[in-house]
């Protein structure tokens, strides 16, 4: 049963840091936690030392399927360790920063572009004020992720492009100041008792100004009289009283403004798409305390640039960096910082207070960041560097061969790894894991460990498939691989011979899938391959030829579903088009768009769910329905909670019971009713990255295995003499239950979380870089057998492989 045992994941990251093209940044007020979200959807949590600001990556949160656009704190309480993230696909998650768990998640039809966390009057904690690709302002609860109420517009309703919530000094209520993309400034007053049932809340005032597509709007915190509105080409100071322009600052040539804020009544900080911060002193007519306020702009008195925050090297970026102005307080000391995360995954921090202090008239100073770090730098700093699963094959002098695909053959305990140069290495999994995790004499061995090498691909191996794992109708010896050389290769696992090379695609192979069980006998012998030229083929392993080539797709293939009884293969493309192909004849039955396309895809799910109902209860052939991760993502995409739940369950179940069908062959070990003590899963955050690997140690399975091996060596008499027969069960029970009440509590907590894993829709992957280091110490290794509690808090809810197909 999924969720009842303890699985300890250990990540072998390999020598390359994951790609992390940063799309959003966040630094906690106490300067202890940095969070970076990236375009691939992962979120990295960094531990920050508040004094030195040294940043160490701590874990990677996986779950979002699109760029992470907003990050926000969830509570006003300083040491409350929760954040909220929102992605371009409309997914929102609340994460626990301590254990990296996703506490709550929703998928909205409204996609946010900006979130301001604000403590409203009459509410006990923060509320999230969200705006985005919709015409309202949504106010959400950060923990339940429910929409509490929304603000609507009467005058020119349109998308809100920026908003600022504040409490005017003279009043008790909160004021929302916002600007629509067509330039209507609106003001809402909130009393704090608004709710979903109340009548639509319309703006109290609105005014049309000449300002299209504003990027940010900030009211001056010092006097609440001036407002800074930033647009790409210029930023402007407005008088909050009548919204007239006081002054305007053009963006530097070749750059566009992104956002800005006030540093003082007469000083502003704006930053540009090149990742530079600019500090300006405002002219007298824009400073409320000045007698010339609101007067006409004077020729000799214009905004003056007095300080620039920039990187000294000015490295080329592939996209505008994510930047944020941050107020922190550590030990009673307030600090103002500008945080930046760029496309190379570099995080930098400027001390704004340094730059503001005493500007010389007529002088422009330039400031370099006080902290500069990145995942790559963190990787480089580690000694020894993070281990990869096949490190024993790389020589220190040679550049490391990148691992590009992998599958774990559980029954044979073998790990098959495809590499960048086209070779496929097959090794004993336990042996190779031992080599990476245990220090010992065996590492001094000069010759390479026993392995099998399959040579046939010309260039990177993209994907691997062992069809027998999925269903026993396939030959046990058959291994299939797809490469960058457009070829799909069929191998004999035992002899290592290349049986056949299918050359039917016109692009690199991206995915290999197994068709469902109830297809026609001919299709049952086939596997399905997907290529980057948007073609899909059914390749018969028995006939050694291509049965169907489906290649009319204009856009990348994102889903493949089946109607086996109708002999249909249903191919969904990234533009929402659906192609229905007859499998046997290769005839394109029809092409669908829009609503009908969605319905046809959903209908495939229904038939699938019906079949699945049986599959889950019987617990056999769980993977016969393609990759659970795929289904999970599909579920996510179609907001189908049941499908997601089913997929998650299958994912967990599949991991734990990977193949019972394969138990009876020469590849299989002697049949014993037990769980797999170890499974290995490849993982990558970006399609261009080499693979990292996650090892899942099933502690219970391990204990059972170890004990049964020990006893099988003992005679019944000696067992009895040792008094083991009756007491042993208690011993095992004590181990799994744990002795101390505190530990028991922790374990049961973890078990509860594991159960939740099957129910919550988000996957979470927690992996500590230091953890790997820790596991390199030999004394820690005793852990694997017994010390359940020591590593118990590093759990994983639903490990899944994010395939390129699902991720497109």
């Amino acid at each position: 049963m999924p969720g009842t045992n303890l699985i300890v994941p250990v990540v072998l990251w390999g020598k390359h840091a994951p790609t992390h093209c940063i799309s959003s940044v966040y630094l906690s007020r106490d300067q202890k936690t940095l969070v970076t979200g990236c375009y691939d959807g992962q979120i990295c949590i960094w531990q920050v030392e508040p004094e030195t600001l040294k940043m160490t990556p701590r874990c990677l949160l996986v779950g979002h399927t699109a760029p992470v656009t907003c990050l926000s704190r969830a509570s006003i309480i300083q040491d409350n360790n929760f954040i909220v993230s929102s992605s371009e696909a409309g997914e929102m998650c609340t994460w626990d920063l301590v254990d990296g768990k996703c506490r709550e998640s929703v998928k909205l039809t409204q996609v946010h572009t900006n979130i301001q966390a604000y403590h409203m009057c009459n509410s006990d904690d923060l509320r999230l004020f969200c705006n985005g690709y919709y015409a309202e302002i949504l106010i959400m609860d950060p923990f339940s992720l429910e929409i509490l109420f929304s603000l609507s517009s009467k005058m020119n309703p349109d998308w809100i492009s920026a908003l600022h919530v504040l409490r005017p000094s003279s009043r008790k209520d909160d004021v929302v100041l916002a600007i629509s993309i067509t330039g209507t400034v609106k003001v809402w007053s909130l009393l704090g008792h608004e709710n979903k049932q109340s009548e639509p809340i319309y703006e109290n005032e609105s005014k049309q100004i000449r300002c299209l597509n504003a990027l940010s709007l900030n009211c001056c915190a010092y006097n609440q009289r001036t407002v800074l509105i930033v647009c790409a080409k210029y930023c402007q100071i407005y008088d909050a009283g009548d919204f007239s322009v006081l002054c305007s600052i053009q963006a530097p040539s070749g750059e566009r403004w992104m956002t800005g804020d006030f540093l003082a009544p007469d000083k502003i900080l704006v930053w540009s798409t090149e990742g530079k911060g600019y500090l300006y002193k405002l002219p007298a007519n824009s400073v409320p305390d000045h007698k010339g306020f609101h007067g006409p702009s004077v020729e000799h008195d214009s905004p003056t640039l007095f300080s620039i925050l920039a990187h000294p090297d000015n490295k080329l970026l592939s996209c505008p960096p994510a930047m944020r102005f941050i107020l922190t307080s550590v030990g009673g000391k307030q600090r103002r910082l500008l945080l930046r995360g760029d496309s190379h995954g570099v995080v930098s921090l400027w001390n704004v207070d340094d730059a503001v202090a005493a500007p010389q008239p007529g002088e422009t100073t330039s400031h370099a960041p006080i902290v500069l770090t990145s995942l790559e730098m963190a990787w480089a700093e580690m000694n020894p560097s993070p281990v990869g699963i096949l490190d024993q094959f790389s020589h220190p002098e040679e550049p490391e061969m990148k691992l590009t695909a992998s599958i774990y053959l559980l029954a044979a305990n073998r790990l098959v790894v495809g590499r960048e140069d086209g070779s496929i290495v097959i090794v004993n999994a336990t042996h190779t894991v031992q080599l990476q995790l245990l220090h010992g004499n065996h590492q001094q061995l000069d010759d390479l460990p026993l392995h099998q090498l399959l040579l046939g691909h010309n260039g990177r191996v993209n994907c691997l498939l062992y069809p027998h794992h999925v269903h026993h109708r396939y030959d046990k010896a058959h291994l299939v691989s797809g490469g960058i050389d457009f070829a799909v290769c069929l191998w004999d696992l035992f002899s290592g011979a290349l049986l056949h090379r299918f050359c039917v695609h016109a692009g690199e192979i991206t995915q290999l899938i197994v068709p469902p069980l109830n297809c026609s006998p001919r299709i049952q012998k086939c596997i399905c391959s997907v290529a980057s030229d948007h073609s899909v083929t059914l390749l018969s392993l028995a006939e050694r030829k291509c049965v169907t080539l489906a290649s009319r797709h204009l856009f990348p293939v994102v889903t493949i579903k089946w109607r086996p009884l109708d002999d249909f293969m249903v191919v969904g493309c990234s533009d929402g088009t659906v192609y229905v192909w007859q499998m046997e004849t290769g005839h394109l039955d029809r092409v669908l768009h829009g609503m009908i396309a969605e319905e046809v895809l959903a209908a495939c799910d229904e038939t699938l769910d019906n079949e699945l109902g049986g599959a889950i209860t019987s617990g056999t052939d769980l993977q016969g329905l393609a990759n659970p991760a795929l289904h999970f993502f599909r579920g996510l995409r179609h907001r189908n909670l049941n499908a997601m739940r089913a997929a998650t369950q299958r994912g967990l179940a599949a991991l734990q019971a990977t193949d019972r069908s394969g138990n009876a062959g020469p590849l299989a070990e002697p049949a014993r009713a037990r769980r797999a003590p170890l499974t290995i899963q490849g993982f990558r955050s970006n399609p261009a990255d080499p693979e990292s690997h996650i090892l899942f140690f099933d502690i219970e399975g391990l204990i059972v295995e170890l004990l049964s091996e020990e006893y099988s060596a003992m005679s019944p008499a000696s067992l009895e003499a040792a008094g083991l027969i009756t007491s042993e069960y208690m011993k095992v029970a004590a181990l799994t239950q744990s002795a101390s009440p505190d530990a028991a509590k922790r374990i049961s907590g973890i078990l509860a979380k594991m159960k939740e894993g099957a129910e919550t829709m988000q996957t979470k992957l927690q992996a500590k870089a230091e953890q790997i280091k820790a596991h390199l110490e030999p004394k820690e290794l005793g852990v694997v057998g017994v010390g359940v509690v020591g590593v118990g808090d590093k759990y994983l809810k639903m490990p899944m492989k994010i395939t390129s197909l699902a991720q497109w």
């Binding site: 375009y39 998308w159 533009d575 261009a688």
Partner: protein, 265 residues
């Protein structure tokens, strides 16, 4: 690498540089033309397209179940005469209307227009003389473009599903004059190139809620043009992306030989 492979790699590199230098700008320009043309088909002020166009449509369903005469101004239905037969009571005809004071806003049109505007903005942000130095730079722009175009298209093709409760409470429903009885609701939405009108009737059968509906639709000519151009633009983006991905396997390809002064305008 043998000589042939070296030559091939050198040629590919040259081709790659050409794509970045010439082809990307040419395609972006083409895309810009297509998208601006698309923007001009919208009946709302958008990218230099002035004024609100007005269209009149008649929606009827056989056999005389419902009839609806609609005036679409910009993204809102500014006037409509609606009449439909109530199912349970065979001879009752329900009449209502939309007038200038409470127009029925088709949010889908505004959403699509805004997404399109955003897409054009991504192209406008690229200086014509800018020299791209890596495929990542271009891929990022293309990815943004595809995202916006996809959302624009989806806004029109896949109307957001609303619950009957949301519909009843919507601002649009409240603007009807006269107001509909509590067990009736109507909805206007866009699906692909069609404007669709649906009348819902709630009834309670043995304690369970039942919803009956009847609908009518009509083709909106400018919507087909818009969808066609959005699809064409998406396809152009995808082709450029595929083209660049061919080179992505040669990670060491960068346009590095140029001097910095040339790069910055």
């Amino acid at each position: 690498m043998n000589d042939n492979e070296k030559e091939e790699a050198a040629n590919l590199k040259e081709e790659f540089e050409w794509v970045l230098r010439e082809e990307v700008h040419a395609i972006l320009h083409q895309l810009h033309t297509v998208l601006v043309e698309c923007a001009h088909r919208f009946p709302v002020p958008l990218y230099g397209n002035e004024g609100q166009k007005q269209d009149k449509f008649i929606l009827t369903s056989q056999p005389e179940q419902l009839k609806c005469i609609v005036t679409l101004t910009g993204d809102s239905i500014t006037h409509a005469d609606i009449s439909f037969k109530v199912l349970r009571q065979m001879h009752t005809i329900c009449r209502t209307s939309i007038n200038q004071d409470g127009p029925w806003k088709l949010q889908q049109i505004q959403d699509a227009a805004n997404h399109l505007q955003q897409a054009i903005g991504y192209i406008d942000n690229v200086d014509k003389h800018y020299i791209f130095r890596s495929s990542e730079e271009v891929l990022h722009i293309i990815q943004c473009l595809i995202g916006s175009l996809q959302r624009a298209r989806t806004a029109l093709v896949l109307p957001k599903k609303k619950t009957i409760d949301e519909l009843m409470k919507s601002r649009n429903m409240k603007a009807l004059s006269p107001n509909l009885p509590e067990d009736l609701a109507i909805s206007f939405y866009i699906q692909s190139h069609k404007l669709i009108f649906v009348a819902y009737q709630l009834s309670s059968v043995h304690g369970t809620m039942r919803i009956d509906s009847c609908q009518a639709d009509c083709a909106v000519p400018w919507l087909s043009d818009v969808l066609f151009m959005l699809t064409a633009a998406l396809h152009m983006c995808q082709q450029l992306k595929d083209k660049l991905c061919v080179f992505s396997q040669y990670k060491d390809f960068t346009v590095g030989s140029r001097s910095a002064s040339m790069v910055l305008n």
